[in-house]
């Protein structure tokens, strides 16, 4: 799948403006949700190879992780508002219901999707062949530069 770098970077700039603007106007929760989009844009840009990303890598871990974080934030906010100023009528593994979404979604869910997913899909992110090709290409370029510099010395 093609990753157009400049439009994605423009989106990153627009998201920074939107996030800080919303935050300054007290709309921190929509800004928080947009911040996941900001992180995802960076992640897609950095995971691409020659302007393309493997759909499998995009779906898992990248979009799966983003979805887990978005769902966790939404439910954390729902339960935080529902039980504001009072002892919650139930807990999840001993945790405040809203905080449970942070622990099991944001933290453990984030690790289970992004960290584990990165390990499982490492070859989609960068194959051994891509690295070998890259180092060979750089070695060739460096040799050519040295020869050119040597030639110009003479």
């Amino acid at each position: 799948m093609k990753v157009p770098a400049t439009p994605l970077v423009l989106l990153i700039g627009a998201l920074w403006v939107a996030i800080t603007g919303l935050g300054l106007f007290g709309m921190w929760f929509p800004a928080l949700l947009l911040s996941v989009a900001l992180m995802t844009a960076h992640l897609v840009l950095g995971s691409a190879h020659s302007g393309r990303i493997r759909p499998g890598l995009l779906i898992y871990p990248i979009l799966t992780w983003a979805l887990v974080w978005l769902v966790s934030f939404v439910f954390a906010e729902v339960f935080a508002r529902s039980f504001a100023g009072q002892e919650p009528p139930f807990t999840v593994a001993g945790l405040h219901p809203s905080f449970a979404w942070i622990v099991f979604g944001y933290w453990l869910g984030g690790v289970a999707t992004l960290t584990i997913g990165f390990s499982r899909r490492r070859k989609m992110w960068m194959t051994d062949e891509q690295w070998s090709e890259f180092t060979a290409r750089i070695a060739g370029m460096n040799t050519a530069r040295e020869e050119a510099e040597g030639g110009s010395d003479h």
Binding site: M27, E87, H96
Partner: protein, 505 residues
């Protein structure tokens, strides 16, 4: 604290310092050239790098300040601590690009990466060096102050004596073995923090019975007063966002998630990795180590809330005492590891920032100013700089209390605002121009100083409770992008084709 306990803690801490020194000496054997001295380039495997990166990220503030903040304002700061997936996010985003730069040319410092990407642009190198130096010295002084105050209190010494002994030894092994010794000792100190973390997590569950008991005690405690100190409890302390403004919750999710990879202690470790194909393992190990330390500080903060809300200990006169109150209540085995963990955190972060600062002062800044030195001379100057800077930082930390506190604000966000334009946008986007990045850095430097003055001296607060460093990072990124769209330095035909290959990787 009884004399036996005090003696055991001192002995345990002395052992930690001694082993760190010996590891530093041993590390000298692997130091063969400038790249290994300044950057340990391509020398270590993922386990060593992961423990070292985690230890350098988890400063004394994480161990002492975070439990204090949990005690004070609940779970807001927990959002920051539980941002463990940030390591995977960062390594996926940038890992292969930074590591690949070390294949293009000899890379020893972040300034070398900047030179390669932006065709030796002196302004970029000078500005990024100055901003990083500002953040490094602030971090260094605050670590020295935290470590010296703690051990002066424990041993009955003056803070000056404690600082000179602990950080003098640290400076000695950094002079001898450079970044090689730094990474090895930080990995050992990271291991100590992980072991301490496991012990404190077990202690929390055996002391409280689990988080259910904490929420019950906190919800019903109301206001507790003893010895003239009061603490008011609310169930909202333990909800998802804590009791600080929502703008802070936003910042404490966003900044660590994108900012961990922007920290020089993580960036420089990427080119220290021997095989870039190990980046996913590095991410996994760093995440696991971070999870243990994060859970430790969350447990300690909640433990302190439990102890006070249950009436088992009186309200704390200073929130920063939370970790020590927890340890004292838990018993000797926890006390031994708590003090060792705080010392390890202070030492690992200090040694990183000491070697980074010396690299900037002896290599990057002189080169940005047009001064050329041989590699041997750079290493000699760096060693002298480590010694001078080490003692200077001790003096500054001990003698300028208020200034240290003010500059302590130049932390995570300041470093992020400097590295974001150069290394994130610069290595992800071929159209990031030298003019754009330079403009982003100017904005970063000016806004950091202006916002610091507004925040610390005038007491100005931004609407929505948004911390100032979020605005600085946003402004530097947006300006970099906007100016890059209309300028072309170090892009297109001016982009080194080898760097183009790195960005494509």
């Amino acid at each position: 604290m009884d004399p036996t306990t005090r003696g055991l803690i001192i002995g345990f801490s002395a052992l930690l310092i001694s082993v760190s020194f010996l590891i530093g000496l041993w590390g000298r054997r692997r130091m063969t050239n400038a790249q290994s001295y300044f950057g340990a380039t391509g020398l270590f495997g993922p386990l060593t790098i992961s423990l070292s990166s985690m230890a350098a990220v988890a400063s004394a503030f994480a161990l002492v300040g975070v439990p204090g903040l949990i005690y004070l304002s609940g779970n807001t700061i927990v959002l920051w601590m539980l941002g463990s997936p940030a390591f995977a996010l960062g390594y996926m985003m940038l890992g292969k690009k930074v590591r690949a730069m070390a294949e293009v040319a000899p890379i020893a410092t972040l300034g070398d990466v900047s030179d390669l990407r932006f065709n030796n642009h002196r302004g970029i190198k000078a500005l990024v060096s100055v901003i990083l130096l500002l953040g490094c010295v602030a971090y260094l002084a605050s670590q020295i102050k935290a470590g010296a105050d703690l051990f002066a209190h424990l041993m009955g010494w003056s803070p000056w004596t404690a600082a000179l002994i602990i950080f003098g030894i640290l400076g000695a092994y950094t002079v001898i073995s450079g970044e090689v010794g730094g990474i090895l000792t930080q990995a050992f100190q990271g291991l100590v923090m992980v072991v301490a973390g496991l012990i404190m997590i077990v202690a929390f569950f055996s002391m409280t019975g689990g988080p259910g008991a904490v929420i019950a005690a906190v919800s019903s405690a109301g206001t507790v007063t003893a010895d003239g100190v009061s603490k008011t409890f609310s169930p909202d302390l333990l909800n998802a966002w804590g009791t600080l403004p929502g703008g802070v919750a936003l910042a404490w999710v966003l900044i660590p998630a994108l900012g961990v990879i922007c920290q020089p202690q993580v960036l420089t470790r990427m080119y220290a990795l021997k095989d870039p194909r190990d980046l996913s393992r590095l991410s996994l190990y760093a995440t696991i180590a971070h999870m243990v330390v994060a859970l430790m500080v969350v447990c300690v903060g909640m433990g302190a809330l439990y102890l006070v809300s249950s009436g088992l200990v009186p309200p704390l006169d200073s929130p920063d005492r939370a970790i020590f109150v927890f340890a004292d209540y838990a018993g000797l085995h926890v006390q031994l590891f708590v003090y060792a963990a705080v010392l390890a955190a202070a030492m690992s972060t200090s040694s990183l920032f000491l070697s980074l600062s010396s690299g900037i002062l002896s290599r990057d800044l002189p080169s940005a100013l047009g001064l050329r030195m041989s590699i041997e001379r750079q290493m000699t100057v760096s060693r002298i700089t480590v010694a001078v800077l080490g003692f200077g930082a001790i003096w500054f930390a001990m003698d300028s209390g208020r200034l240290v506190a003010i500059l302590g604000a130049f932390g995570f966000g300041t470093l992020m605002s400097a590295t974001m334009p150069v290394f994130i946008l610069g290595l992800l986007w071929k159209r990031a121009s030298s003019q754009g990045v330079f403009a982003g850095l100017v904005v970063s430097l000016v806004f950091n100083i202006v916002c610091l003055v507004l925040d610390k001296l005038i007491g100005f607060r931004w609407p929505g409770g948004v911390p100032w460093y979020v605005l600085v990072v946003a402004a530097s990124s947006v300006v970099t992008i906007a100016v890059s769209l209309v300028t072309h330095g170090a892009t297109g035909d001016e982009l080194d084709p080898r760097v183009g290959a790195v960005i494509d990787l």
